[in-house]
Amino acid sequence: MKKVALIVIGVIGFVVVFLGISLIAGYNKLVDVKVNVDFEYSEIDRRLQQRYDTLTQLATAVNGFQAHEQTVYNMITSARESYALAKAQGDLQGMADADGLMSVALADLLVLFEDNEPLQATEAYGDYMDAVWGIESALTEARRLYNEAVKEYNKFVTKFPGVLYATLFSYTSEIDFWEVSDGATLIPNIVFGGQE
């Protein structure tokens, strides 16, 4: 009789310990994947701000040599405003669209640079291109890492037993990916005075 009681206590004890550990581990994992998503989101936001600053600086550099320059400058400003509005509304797709719009403005800006021989001859030209390559490379990584973090989060909260934890702790079921139009995610193929 005593032996049976010990076994029952042991089994109950095991179940309690197992559930306790599972709950702690599950909750911690949920927090980890969500914090990762939030961190990568903040990285995209930071990189987009950096890109806006860089592009504004570049647009200023080509200032006055062509009428077309004003159009590109307006595109950059417009993309920035769209981004700020979408961010304020929590509209992720709107933010991604504004990101794509900025990429189009960048492509146009680079065309202006290529057509501007006096500017290409300046020492600053290489610096501008380095700045663009650096920020576009970082932004591409930020988008990729955000989407990877979202993928990890979505997988966890939709699979068993993660779905139980997400429901139990009231976490959002799924998060949208950062999707920009094809081509907007490519790093511009910048030529550095004969060297790519």
Binding site: D130, G134, S137
Partner: protein, 261 residues
């Protein structure tokens, strides 16, 4: 009761072990020296030695207020079949896997070579990249990194000199901008002399002879045997280069620069 407690503890450990088991490494692990990962086998031993020595020295540097330490500059070389294969290497992933620099204060310098992997003399340097840790971005911009590449490895005909020149320029940025040194001086002509006279293994013939004598000779004294034991511990177990250098837990976010030929 004792048995039940033990069973619960064992099962709990098994559950924890399963929860904790993960292995996501995609790229090769860093070498024991950590600061130099010459997978293409193109660096001279003297250059490797310099990178490791300077890397360890920098890693031990602490800012005056103690807020910055553990800065790491890591070099790596890879061989690719053709230039298109370079795209399969994600430097941010490598940086994060190797965890370069404490508090994201690090840099990863990577050389990509094309050619026959078994014949290092046939390898041609086609691309150089610098990946900058998150916190290091404040001190080293892509513009500055690009200018450093242009002024060092990209113009120096000798790759060894170019590599060390690049290392010293990056160190110069770190010591002067991060640790606020007034100056950081180096002389590449002096380094060229060092390179020309560098002997990889030192006077090993004599050392080996002495070691054999101590081990085999009945006339070897106890203090000689003691010295040999200490050397053995240093070389094979406790100190010097055999101590494994490791990353400081740093991460990067794709910021950096590249140069292609």
């Amino acid at each position: 009761m004792k048995l039940a407690t033990k069973s619960i503890a064992l099962l709990a450990l098994i559950v924890l072990a399963f929860v904790g088991c993960r292995n996501k490494d995609t790229y090769p692990k860093p070498t024991r020296e950590f600061y130099v990962n010459d997978f293409a086998d193109t660096f001279l031993p003297a250059v490797e030695s310099t990178i490791v020595d300077e890397g360890e020295r920098l890693n031990n540097e602490v800012s005056e207020d103690g807020s910055i330490s553990g800065v790491q500059i890591v070099f790596a070389t890879f061989v690719v079949e053709n230039e298109l294969d370079i795209a399969s290497y994600n430097l941010t992933d490598i940086y994060r896997q190797w965890e370069i620099g404490k508090d994201d204060m690090g840099m990863l310098v990577v050389y990509f070579y094309v050619g026959d992997e078994s014949d290092s003399s046939s390898l041609k340097l086609v691309e150089t990249r610098i990946e900058i840790g998150y916190a290091m971005e404040v001190y080293l911009s892509p513009i500055e990194a690009g200018n450093i590449l242009d002024d060092t490895i990209w113009i120096d005909e000798d790759e060894s000199i170019g590599t060390v020149h690049l290392l010293y320029e990056l160190l110069s940025v770190v010591y002067m901008d991060v640790f606020e040194y007034d100056s950081f001086n180096y002389d590449m002509n002096v380094y060229q002399d060092y390179l020309d006279t560098y002997v990889e293994y030192g006077d090993y013939d004599t050392l080996w002879g002495w070691m054999i004598y101590v081990v085999l000779s009945p006339y070897a004294s106890w203090w000689e045997k003691g010295i040999l034991v200490v050397i053995g511990l240093v070389v094979f177990g406790l100190g010097g280069r055999t101590v494994k250098n490791i990353g400081g837990g740093g991460r990067s976010g794709g910021m950096g620069i590249r140069r292609r030929r």
